[in-house]
């Protein structure tokens, strides 16, 4: 089996709105990622994309319109969608094609637009939202008028705190730690320093989660070049190998019917598959980018991925063992809470951070000597996860 490596990466800073039309942003990023890989556009033989916006703008035939726009003649292209896993699955498709030896240089392009000018039209917004709610949460939960999936995550946080005899105050160091990393990341959406007291006094969103326990509304885009090692070798950068990808889905959308709400078993199952394939263990991981969209979720994920015993991650964060004082550094990008969370593109932002960390080019947020990186992404409420293991080639 051919190895698949990441040869080039590019991403724009995360912000409330995209700086330009999504087609212009995607085009710039494709050229930037190809330049990073040292490849001309004519060498691209695969294009795998997310919808331009996960919810909102239609993604109908976006891979075709983008390929047309870029003038790409490929032997494989597709638009992939599975909630927050979307960009990770577009990447996975490219990796599989390269591993199978069918394709040699694939562009993966992800974007999300969460703030849309049309949303300023209240009537348009409400009508679309009421219908989308039933589509997204189903004809049962969708009738209760959920404004976002936050209530599910809030109740998961409540159960986690309840079962482990923790309190809201134990969540605050997560937000503060991630913000400290984001202060050093020019791509991060939120870079103003915050204190634990500010996290605890922030306006409530859904108790026990307050404003600073949640990721903010964000747009963003990223592109990645996945190539075979011989193609990547021609570039100026150190390629990063995709050692393993694990994936697992539970038969539940948002809240599971019987399993505890405080657990995210899909993350553990996906991680076990990836660790086994790569013959690595959590202790081997130098840097991890995980899909923690809320403070409590972040803690549960560190545990499910095998880094800490159940109920112990909050102590590890407080003691600095997740931010340089332990074997693994978590979310040095600032994570979803401070780098920002343009959901459709989030997993590619994680890939960009991991690749830059494994190349050793992250300046003052560089994890010293990082050689193994872990990607975690999820859809819905952690009911489906993908875990990737990367290693400096």
């Amino acid at each position: 089996m051919t190895q698949a490596v990441i040869a080039g990466v590019a991403a724009i800073p995360v912000a409330r709105k995209l700086p330009r039309a999504v087609r212009d942003v995607a085009t710039d990023l494709c050229f930037a990622a190809l330049a990073d890989a040292g490849l001309p556009a004519r060498d691209v033989d695969g294009l795998f994309v997310t919808p331009p916006a996960l919810s909102g703008m239609s993604g109908f035939m976006w891979s075709c319109t983008l390929a047309h726009h870029l003038g790409l003649s490929t032997r494989g292209q597709a638009l992939v969608e599975c909630g927050g896993l979307t960009a990770a699955l577009a990447l996975k498709q490219a990796v599989q094609e390269v591993r199978a030896g069918r394709l040699r240089a694939c562009l993966v392009v992800a974007s999300d637009i969460r703030a849309d000018d049309r949303a300023d039209d209240f009537e348009f917004f409400i009508r679309g939202m009421a219908a989308d709610l039933v589509g997204l949460y189903g004809p049962y939960d969708g009738l209760y008028g959920l404004a976002a999936p936050i209530p599910y995550y809030a109740m998961s946080a409540q159960r986690y705190l309840h079962e482990h005899h923790l309190s809201r105050a134990d969540l605050a160091p997560v937000a503060v730690t991630l913000r400290r990393f984001a202060e050093k990341n020019p791509r991060a959406q939120l870079r103003q320093p915050i204190t634990e007291q500010e996290v605890l006094e922030a306006p409530p969103i859904c108790p026990p989660l307050g404003l600073l326990d949640c990721s903010a509304f964000a747009s963003g885009a990223a592109a990645v070049v996945v190539a075979s090692p011989d193609v990547a070798r021609r570039g100026p950068r150190r390629p990063v190998a995709v050692r393993a990808i694990g994936e697992a889905h539970e038969p539940a959308h948002f809240a599971p019917l019987r399993e505890p709400l405080s657990r995210f078993p899909s993350a553990g199952r996906a991680a076990q598959e990836a660790y086994a394939e790569a013959r690595l263990q959590p202790v081997d991981v130098d840097v991890a980018e995980v899909y923690g969209v809320f403070t409590a979720t972040e803690l549960v994920l560190y545990e499910e991925l095998g880094f800490f015993d159940r109920g112990r991650a909050a102590h590890a964060v407080r003691e600095g063992r997740t931010s340089g004082g332990g074997t693994t550094v978590f979310n040095p990008s600032g994570g979803r809470l401070s780098l920002g969370h343009p959901a459709g593109a989030t997993p590619l932002y994680s890939i960009v951070e991991l690749v830059e960390q494994l190349r050793g080019g992250c300046g003052d947020r560089q994890v010293a000597g990082a050689s193994v990186g872990l990607l975690h992404a999820e859809h819905g409420m952690l009911n489906g996860s993908l875990v990737g293991l990367l290693e400096a080639a």
Binding site: I126, M129, A130, D132, P139, Y144, L146, M155, L261
Partner: protein
């Protein structure tokens, strides 16, 4: 604005719902919280299905669920779409079924995990019903 939300909700129910959802709604309108049980393996599904998601059998029968529940988790939306604040939501545990999302018709401050609850019904717009729970 309520008319807009109601119209969009009804349209979406037709688009995203199914036959079991329609029957569930009809029974809610009669003051009954129901779901389906597999004729082969006897597992109760929730929400209802016209097949069994546990063993794959195609034969399922309707049954009334217990009216009592306990509070498994709860929160409050500051900005919901349908109910004005305080918009209290919870997951309730029904014996033999599992936990599922519902509206809690009680102040957030009165609630604790494990609180005994009883089901009630609310017509959110003409012909569309939801279950909600109140402390016993």
């Amino acid at each position: 604005m309520k008319e807009l939300i109601d119209a969009a909700t009804k349209e979406a129910l037709l688009r995203y719902g199914d036959a079991a959802c329609e029957e569930f709604q009809r029974r809610l309108g009669q003051g009954r919280l129901c779901s389906t049980r597999c004729r082969a393996c006897r597992e109760i599904a929730f929400p209802p299905r016209d097949f069994c998601p546990h063993c794959g059998a195609r034969e399922a029968e309707w049954l009334d669920l217990p009216r009592r529940a306990t509070l498994y988790a709860f929160t409050q939306q500051q900005r919901g779409l349908r109910f004005l604040a305080p918009d209290v939501l919870g997951l309730v545990e029904v014996e033999g079924v599992g936990h599922f999302l519902t509206r809690i018709d009680a102040p957030f401050e009165r609630l604790t995990i494990g609180l005994p609850l009883e089901v009630a019904f609310l017509e959110i717009c003409p012909g569309v019903w939801v279950h909600q729970y109140r402390p016993v």
